[in-house]
């Protein structure tokens, strides 16, 4: 069975470059979440999509971060002008009411900004 997938699994970039991280949620899941886990810290909520509603962007750390969810399925997290402090593992999760709102996580994208 297909779970949540993320790509790339690893990304190394130079400071100042833009990066795009992709998340494919479980088919039929209406909710999609992005989180960030920095070294030595707990998971940090970034953004939440629910169906066709306006996303909850309250967790985005700066205006360099943005996310889209096209067609209610695939989501892309974009980080512009990356900084070294953006280095972290970026995790995506999806959920649905039918699944009791349990969040299923992808394997994450490990981002390293040099």
């Amino acid at each position: 069975g297909a779970g949540v997938s993320q790509s790339p699994s690893n990304k190394v970039t130079e400071k100042g470059k833009d990066v795009e991280l992709r998340c494919d949620p479980i088919s039929g899941h209406t909710a999609l979440y992005w989180y960030r886990q920095s070294l030595g810290q707990g998971l940090e909520f970034l953004i939440y999509f629910q169906g066709n509603s306006a996303p909850d962007k309250s967790g985005l750390p700066s205006d360099r971060f943005s996310a889209e969810r096209t067609g209610g399925s695939v989501s892309t997290l974009t980080i512009q002008r990356t900084q070294q402090e953006d280095s972290a593992v970026y995790l995506c999760a999806s959920s649905s009411r039918a699944a009791g709102e349990t969040q299923y996580f992808g394997p994450g994208t490990r981002l390293l900004v040099l």
Binding site: G42, L91, A93, T102, G106, G108
Partner: protein
């Protein structure tokens, strides 16, 4: 400040011993989730608790949400090396926004 505090931060136990991990919030929890992260792998959902006093078990792992819904404990009975990893609690505190604890790193010595 952390919305969810986990304790202990790390735990080293001998195989076969029991252990408990705690997750505490200063606010009412609307849903409390326990996850496990094995080194180098993604998060694995363990269980979810919603009602005060609720207790769930899966194999040798039991989790409970206290009556006031502000603390949860995860108890592992007769620990095994396969239990090693980072245990994370997560909770819905302010509606749709989700918070995670800082994690507890568990090492089980054979």
């Amino acid at each position: 400040s952390q919305e969810l505090e986990q304790s202990p931060q790390s735990l080293i136990v001998q195989e076969g011993k029991n252990l408990t991990i705690n997750c505490t919030s200063s606010k009412t929890l609307y849903g409390l989730y326990w996850y496990k992260q094995k080194y180098g792998e993604g998060l694995i959902f363990l269980m979810m608790l919603q009602k005060g006093g609720e207790e769930k078990s899966h194999e040798k792992i039991t989790a409970k949400l206290d009556e006031k819904k502000q603390q949860s404990s995860l108890h592992i009975t007769a620990s095994q090396p396969s239990h090693a990893g980072i245990y994370l609690c997560g909770a819905d505190i302010f509606g749709n926004q989700f918070y995670f604890g800082t994690g507890t790193s568990l090492t089980v010595i054979p």
